[in-house]
Symmetry: C2
Subunit: 339 residues, 2 copies
DNA sequence: CTGAAAGCGCTTACAG
DNA sequence: CTGAAAGCGCTTACAG
């Protein structure tokens, strides 16, 4: 790589000190009361030499890297890819750059990523925390490293977060299924304790309870994140083949719905006649399904934007208190719920 | 943020110089012949103080940031999100971190991103170049900044790239349509001059020519990237309503297919009976379409991995000559082509 | 075997 | 109005 031109090169060419050059190029001539003529000479030389400041050096001096670390479960997942994009855009508006990493819902990977990014001096984090990563979050707190959680958070830990109201969204979705005439409603969720999943289960359960539809056996099936394909087949079969079988299934995430629909197709159940379906989050796939899915539309763009705003506020110390934001989702009703 | 512990802090606590600490923590005691006892003391103190090296300072000194800049059209696009993921994984294996940005196929944005990332001292770039960004690529060349292009490249410009054989893939796809009995085949592509699109058009044209199916009017329709929804509707209608109408459409990308299928649905054409369809790249959506799409399966994982490997070779100077890699795609035949 | 010193590219308080 | 100097956190050639 070619040797880059530095302040020193400009200073030499102009016959002044690097200090002068620094003042001029950062538009601080006034406080330093630099002469107009020399300032314009410096600027010209900088331009001619195609000077590019070394942001690493700047960061080292200032202690601010203007970089945000983004940790999601999987950047190739549509949901997180969309969030990443809004975070990128919002960060850029504020002159921040984003470094990302995928944790695969694995706390060790997540910890690895946090370490690496701390060493790279990110100014703060936006994290969709994995299960069992409480200590990592507490570590960030203890180090006073700014961060905001998205999608999930830990109720027991003081922190900023931006999430959607999963309880409300889930309640509404299930209520919709009830209103469209379904009385045996199963739910496919993940086998984990993350708050967003728990809240979705709670919304489901409460909606059933409020309508006297709770059965003696739980109809919530839990799938292992690391074994989705097999687990989901087993669980859906149980829901469909038990007596009495369910006539509707509520999927807790779009990935689950995607896998679940394949099983349902394989079993030749027709949606919504044999079985009604509702799920969380949109997906291109759901638009093209023969029976377009009714889904909970989470406000991804707002989540991303709000997370960046809060984080930058915290980084710049405008607001040191943790802030919690909960945004409502909207139920988009289509054919799959038999409306 | 808490004050971080530095080499100096450890040096003070151990009563030695920072130089010693640096040698020990970087496992270079041998060349510096550091005493075993003092080395272990230093290590212990570092551990107790939870020392985290400042990679910014390291980079400034070494001139290597161990960071890769990734520029794609849109990180929220499934195709690029998948590539980003494989690049992330491969980079991490080599102890590199990736900073990303979306150009939105806009050369100004792309130039912006390149500047910012250069200022942040990335060691190299992986870029899916936009139309009219030739000068940017030449600039990187002139500065000897390592980079490798993916998905597209500029035939006139010397550079490393990893792409798929778009001509072959396209030829095969269209040949398949011909073999399944279609004789009026339209193509929906983008209105641009990027090589991957041109090659796809060339493959299409050649396949028709080899089978004496070229019509006097071009059946290649070009859609403006910034106005997909409207443009595609107009163009598909032209293909379908002209005399004689087409009986098959080949979509040059998955985004085009996604939009196109919506139009076809709206017009109530049944696939594959009224119209056969083949497209580039997979998509969850295509699996769930009532008539699953026949598509060109590009080897995204290999493209990502290979790009990282070549880039790192170039960064570490193992291989200075540009390398061009072309990988074959595979046609996945399903129902939409009427096989 | 160990340390003082220079330097990576910047900024900024200080002195003139 | 301008410059010398210190320092951000690190590495490494050099001197002892």
């Amino acid at each position: 790589m070619k040797k880059k031109v530095s302040l020193k090169d400009i200073a030499q060419a102009a016959g002044v000190s690097t200090a002068l050059v620094s003042y001029v190029l950062n538009n601080k001539e006034k406080e330093a009361r630099v002469g107009k003529e020399i300032a314009s000479v410096i600027r010209e030389i900088a331009k001619k030499l195609d000077y590019q400041p070394n942001l690493l050096a700047k960061s080292l001096k200032s202690g601010k890297s203007h970089t945000i670390g983004l940790i999601v479960a999987d950047i190739s997942n549509q949901f997180f890819a969309n969030i990443a994009r809004t975070i990128e855009d919002e960060a850029k508006k504020n002159n921040y750059t984003v470094i990302f990493g995928s944790s695969d819902e694995n706390p060790e990977k997540s910890w690895d990523l946090i370490s690496v990014l701390i060493n790279r001096q990110v100014d703060g984090f936006i994290i969709a925390p994995t299960e069992n990563s409480e200590r990592q979050i507490e570590y960030l707190n203890s180090q006073n490293i700014p961060f905001v959680l998205i999608d999930r958070y830990f109720p027991g830990i003081q922190s900023s977060y931006v999430a959607t109201d999963n309880y409300q969204a889930s309640y509404e979705a299930v209520l919709h299924l009830i209103k469209t005439g379904h009385d045996k409603i199963g739910m496919i969720a993940y086998k984990n304790n993350l708050v967003h999943i728990k809240e979705r289960k709670r919304g489901y359960t409460q909606a059933l309870a409020d309508n006297n539809l709770l059965s003696e056996v739980s109809l919530i099936k839990e799938v292992d994140f690391n074994n989705i394909t097999e687990d989901i087949e087993i669980n859906i079969k149980e829901l469909l083949f038990n007596k009495p079988p369910v006539n509707a299934i509520f999927f807790a995430t779009n990935t689950l719905a995607l896998h679940g629909l394949k099983v349902i197709n394989k079993l030749n159940y027709k949606i919504p006649d044999d079985l009604a379906v509702v799920c969380f989050d949109e997906g291109d796939a759901f638009d093209f399904f023969y029976s377009p899915l009714t889904f909970v539309d989470q406000p991804i763009v707002e989540v991303g934007k709000e997370a960046v705003r809060i984080l930058i506020d915290q980084i710049t110390n405008k607001n040191i208190n943790p802030r919690q934001v909960s945004i409502s989702s909207r139920l988009v009703i289509r054919k799959s719920s038999g409306a």
